[in-house]
């Protein structure tokens, strides 16, 4: 027959164990102390926070290299605006559940390293007060142009336009992406490299097929085949819609 107040005493034994444990046992005390600093140093706009190299306003220890917060635009190495990956195809603006992305397509095309000249977004705003960091835009983007950042200190005193991140604030380099999400960045780059290789292989196969077709045509009817095959190879000179069907087969991998 158990002692009269046994339940209560056992309960108190547990609290005593926790009381002592919280001094020594790392397992029990996992509350991290947040570095306190006065908030006069709070920037006026969310965009004024430090841009590059993932350096937070305050050295916090809570950000792991998996956590995601608001999205950011990626550009490969080199001058940001030349190597921006985004082509303003506005799929992410359409798919975004709370509809917080606003894109205005530029009218002129910009040369992209190793690729066709593409449009670029004249303005690319994300309303950080509305975005719920759900990563749908990263999934639907066919060009891996938008990925999730892990910076969470974006508080500003101005409620109306302070929380609107402009294109300049969103644009971050690929090394920064490697720095904050090493694993995910590595996978993404490997996937891009594979796709590029696959496309090259397909293009080579397509050229090879074209030469073979050309040779066969010459062999059969040498003179008129050459005449009309020359124009036919000129007019499908990459009209823009090929880029959309390009992204169609891109994403059915």
């Amino acid at each position: 027959m158990n002692l009269l107040g046994a339940g209560i005493l056992k309960g108190m034994a547990v609290t005593l164990k926790n009381f002592i444990g919280s001094y020594f046992d790392k397992e029990r005390l996992n509350t991290l102390e947040y570095m306190w600093q006065n908030d006069k140093s709070l920037p006026k706009r969310a965009g004024d926070y430090p841009k590059e190299e993932g350096e937070q306003l305050r050295p916090t220890t809570t950000v792991t290299n998996y956590s995601r917060n608001f999205p950011m635009l990626l550009h490969d190495d080199g001058e940001p605006m030349d190597t921006i990956r985004c082509v303003a195809c506005q799929i992410c603006e359409r798919e975004c559940p709370p509809q917080c992305i606003y894109i205005e397509k530029s009218d002129d095309k910009k040369e992209r390293p190793g690729g066709k000249p593409q449009f670029y977004p004249a303005t690319f705003d994300i309303d950080v007060s509305v975005c719920m960091s759900c990563q749908i835009c990263v999934e639907v983007c066919p060009f891996d142009a938008i990925v999730m950042n892990s910076q969470f200190e974006l508080s500003t005193p101005d409620r109306f336009n302070g929380l609107l991140l402009k294109r300049g604030d969103l644009l971050k380099s690929n090394q920064y992406y490697h720095k904050i999400h090493p694993e995910e960045a590595a996978d993404r780059d490997k996937r891009i490299a594979d796709d590029k290789a696959a496309k090259e292989a397909k293009k080579k196969a397509a050229e090879a097929a074209k030469e073979a077709k050309k040779k066969a045509a010459e062999a059969k009817a040498k003179s008129e085949a050459e005449a009309n095959s020359k124009e036919e190879s000129k007019d499908p000179s990459e009209p823009p819609q090929t880029s959309t069907e390009h992204n169609k087969e891109e994403n059915t991998e």
Partner: protein, 391 residues
Amino acid sequence: MNWELIKDILLATVPLLVIFPTMFALTTWVERKALARIQNRIGPNKVGVPMSRYGGKLSLFGLGQPAADGIKMLFKENIVPTGADRLFHLLAPILSLIPAMLVLCFLPLNFPWLTDEQNSVKAFMLDGAVIFFFAITGLNTLAVFMAGWASRNKYSLLGGMRAIAQMVSYEIPLVLSAVVVVMTVGSLNAGEIAKSQDGWNWFVFSPWGLAAFIIFFIASLAETNRSPFDLPEAESEIIAGYFTEYSGFKFALFFLGEYIAMFAISGLAVTLFLGAGDGPGAEAYPSLKVIWFLAKICVLIGIMIWLRGTLPRLRVDQLMSFAWKFLMPLSILNIFITGFAWHAENNNEEYGFTIKAIIWTASLLILYLTAKGLDKVNRANIKPRTYQYGE
């Protein structure tokens, strides 16, 4: 006016007014730190000396917290609800503080710097000290009712009524368990009770003394609305009980009153059961008595904080039935046992060790069995249940 008398009185009472409020400030810090550590968090460590010149901050483990609370309470705007009747709204916290402070001066804290003559002044109520103690703590109930009634809102009225019912019904076990000690010592004044327990024969070491101490401690928890009995200020049901409508310094007064009452009652517990001021070095250096006394009070306060971190709250009717159907019969039985044991010891000659052992074990057994029986009667169907597992 003879200045001599006034000097004596001041010498006796001012140290009390200095020691106990500072201990109050420390206890709030200790309580928050200990509760935090029990719950595996760090507790207040942000308030400290702002060293703006060096940019950082000397946090000194949050010791600045009580000072910060005090200042905050001073500057908080004190709101009086329109419906409340202002006089009693103001009077209630004061009335809750007076008995707590008044009771402090009857504890047998023989300060080293006091000569015997001054000691007598302090313990003016030489004879009726213990009864005076219970009379004054009875006034605390009035203060709680006045607060509940004066703030004119349904939560505080409910809280006030609960508090009165609880305090009135827990005063009886409190008094009855004190009777045990008074009976064996034969006098009501605190000094003599302390003297009779010198040399380690504290009351808590005798079986009836231990039972009385446990009952006294449980009843004192209820008297000061602490941990398992903090029903009047149950946040989950009636927001903050009788001091819902209080803010600013009046709330701090209530807070101070509650803590000083806690010190006073644990002081009495120490005097009655734990041999006030008696400790290893007490005979050699009489000045050590005060330190031992305060140390024992801190131990009791520590247990109260530990209970607060662990136990949930009782319901009103369980609270009542626990007092009337469990504690009171037990303490009455305890009085009979003490009477019998004292009679056996003092009135017959061959009171050898064997009879003493028999009496002690017999009383221990009787007390434990009646406690088990009462508990079974009160909570007949409350026991852990078993569950089936379906596929």
